[in-house]
């Protein structure tokens, strides 16, 4: 069984090993599907009054990485293209049919003084028709966003589901400085790992980053004063506010769907309990009242319920409680360790850490049937986070003796790994916008 698994993994690696490297980050598809849809993304054309030979960004390459990284598409290598049309007049469907392509994307970038006009068209090779065509005008700074937007539009047209290529991820890194002191950082990057920027750093641990639903703020826990405290930081201004620094634990922040409240864990009264903090009035409401550990709250998308971890039954399991307080109901009975739940954006499922005989794996629970489906094979998988469209889950795993990020499709068929050159990367949080 184990051998079979290894062989399958090897086959997957051979078939789908397509490393993409930025300065610090490597993305590899570790598990893909053979039904991936073939699509040719032709390098975009370039028009300028100036002397630049190329646009400031290779948009086609960004789109290729997005689409192939989703696992649902197989992009044609540029070297295999017989022609590289940039305008509809030059598209010959039979050329692309001969190459086994189902779809074709072409585009053109035109520089107009300080702005860039990006035009693109998607074709169905079999039907011989144009499926969509758009034009957008962006600043140089937003060319990459434009490329992700095109990926989103193509993804939605061909899969019927919203793309998440223009979203961002937050994560924590820890590395050793030259003087052997540890340094902890909270970073955010584009969903493809590009453009990482440090939000805050500390010589003491940082943990539990959480996005507001509008993607404008991040809450996190910092031990910078040798004691845990919860901060809320506004990304555009960099301004941050300390919202909880009580005696004991200040942890596990989670924004309410409307962004006005933060569910948190405090142990100021003794045992850790879930509280809801109103961010405007600063009024604190205690939600759970057990003598056990209650922590890791996550809001249902309508804001009415909170799922959380409690060991009130002797082992950590998931419970559901109204977000204004009330009676908790136990959600999980399968296995002796079910923790760190997060609701999907549609509220129909939760993702969680499922421990069984010393292995910790990412699982999905269907909220209607309450059945658990284990997705990952790792021994130390943790911190799962849903993509906004619910198609993928980002989580932290152990590989090569360090913590790396991985993402897996909710059907478990596609998986990719994001590993960074230095140190541990963990606690990924995927933005909803």
């Amino acid at each position: 069984m184990n051998n079979l698994f290894k062989r399958l993994l090897l086959i997957c690696l051979i078939c789908f090993y397509t490393p993409i490297s930025y300065a610090e980050l490597t993305i590899e598809i570790t598990k893909g599907i053979d039904t991936a849809v073939p699509i040719a993304v032709v390098p975009f054309g370039w028009r300028t009054q100036g002397t630049e030979l190329q646009p400031p960004l290779n948009l086609a390459s960004v789109i290729q990485n997005d689409l192939s990284g989703s696992g649902l598409f197989k992009t044609l290598p540029e070297n295999d293209m017989l022609t590289q049309p940039t305008e509809v007049e030059n598209v010959r469907y039979r050329n692309w049919k001969a190459l086994g392509q189902d779809y074709l994307l072409i585009g053109m970038v035109t520089k107009e003084t300080e702005r860039y006009k990006v035009q693109f068209q998607l074709f169905d090779i079999f039907k011989g028709v144009q499926l969509l065509g758009y034009r957008l005008t962006v600043s140089k700074r937003n060319l990459r966003r434009a490329a992700h937007h095109i990926s989103d539009v193509v993804y939605q047209k061909l899969t019927g589901r919203k793309g998440v290529f223009n979203t961002r991820i937050a994560y924590i890194t820890s590395g050793v400085k030259t003087d052997k002191q540890k340094i902890y950082k909270l970073l955010i990057a584009d969903a493809d790992g590009y453009n990482p920027r440090t939000i805050t750093s500390s010589l003491e641990p940082l943990m539990s980053p959480a996005w507001s639903v509008d993607g404008k703020k991040i809450a996190y826990v910092s031990f910078e004063n040798k004691h845990s405290a919860i901060y809320v930081q506004t990304l555009t201004t960099g301004k941050r506010e300390r919202v909880a620094a009580f005696k004991g634990i200040n942890g596990a922040p989670a924004f309410s769907p409307d962004g006005s409240k933060l569910a948190i864990t405090l142990s100021r009264d003794g045992s850790p309990d879930i509280y809801v903090l109103d961010l405007n009035s600063k009024i604190l409401r205690k939600i759970t009242r057990s003598y056990a550990i209650d922590t890791e709250p996550s809001w249902s998308p309508d804001g009415s319920m909170i799922v959380y971890t409690s060991d009130r039954g002797g082992q950590p399991q998931l419970y559901l409680i109204p977000s204004v307080g009330g009676n908790p109901t136990r959600l999980t009975y399968d296995g002796n360790y079910n923790t760190r739940a997060q609701f999907s954006a549609d509220g129909q499922s939760i993702v969680l850490v499922h421990g069984n005989q010393g292995d910790y794996r990412i699982a999905i629970m269907d909220m209607a049937t309450r059945t658990i489906n284990v997705l990952t094979a790792g021994r130390f998988d943790e911190s799962p986070s849903f993509a906004a469209n619910g198609d993928m889950i980002l989580y932290a795993a152990h590989k090569y003796g360090k913590s790396v990020l991985s993402s897996i499709s909710v059907d478990g068929r596609m998986e990719r790994r994001l590993s960074f050159d230095k140190g541990d990367v963990r606690e990924p949080a995927w933005s909803r916008k």
Partner: protein, 164 residues
């Protein structure tokens, strides 16, 4: 901070061994208690405890468990006795967990471990104001391997003497 924590057992150790005779500058700052400790050492010795016991400042725990194991109770008692007799001495009990499972749950687990140690100290008469508790969960492992030999070193409470 790290350095101070390392120096402290040496100070405590040397107080028992040689009383005031040491010439180390750092010890000079604690001249006052040195005398008290030397007196106290007789009582400690009666209980079969010595400077060696006080130099042990890490209490280890079983997996997903915050009960203090029998083997460690005498160590906690020795520290409690020292604290009781040195009422201006303050400590931080740092709770930790191994790397398995979810991080915030491990913060809670680490706090429960620190509180278990604290309860034993309190029963020995240590004052609330002398003890502060902080849990780092799995964020500050003592050993980095992903195996039981590392994990058992990480499921711990560290008794950190605060240098005034």
């Amino acid at each position: 901070m790290k350095l101070k924590q390392i120096v402290l057992p040496l100070i405590v150790g040397s107080m028992f061994l040689s009383g005031c005779t040491t010439t180390e500058k750092k010890v000079d700052d604690t001249q006052e208690e040195v005398v008290a400790v030397v007196e106290e050492s007789k009582d400690v010795a009666v209980d079969g405890l010595d400077q060696k016991t006080l130099s042990i400042r890490t209490i280890y725990f079983s997996f997903d468990d915050s009960q203090v194991q029998q083997d460690f109770i005498h160590i906690i008692n020795a520290h409690a006795l020292y604290l009781k007799n040195n009422s201006s001495q303050r400590i931080v009990l740092e709770g930790h967990a191994d790397e398995r499972g979810s991080r915030e749950y491990n913060v809670a687990l680490g706090e429960q471990r620190a509180k278990s140690v604290y309860r034993i100290m309190k029963m020995q008469g240590v004052s609330d104001s002398q003890v502060q508790i902080v849990s780092y969960g799995e964020e500050k492992p003592a050993a980095s391997g992903m195996n039981e030999s590392s994990w058992q070193l990480n499921r711990r409470v560290e008794i950190a003497y605060q240098v005034r």
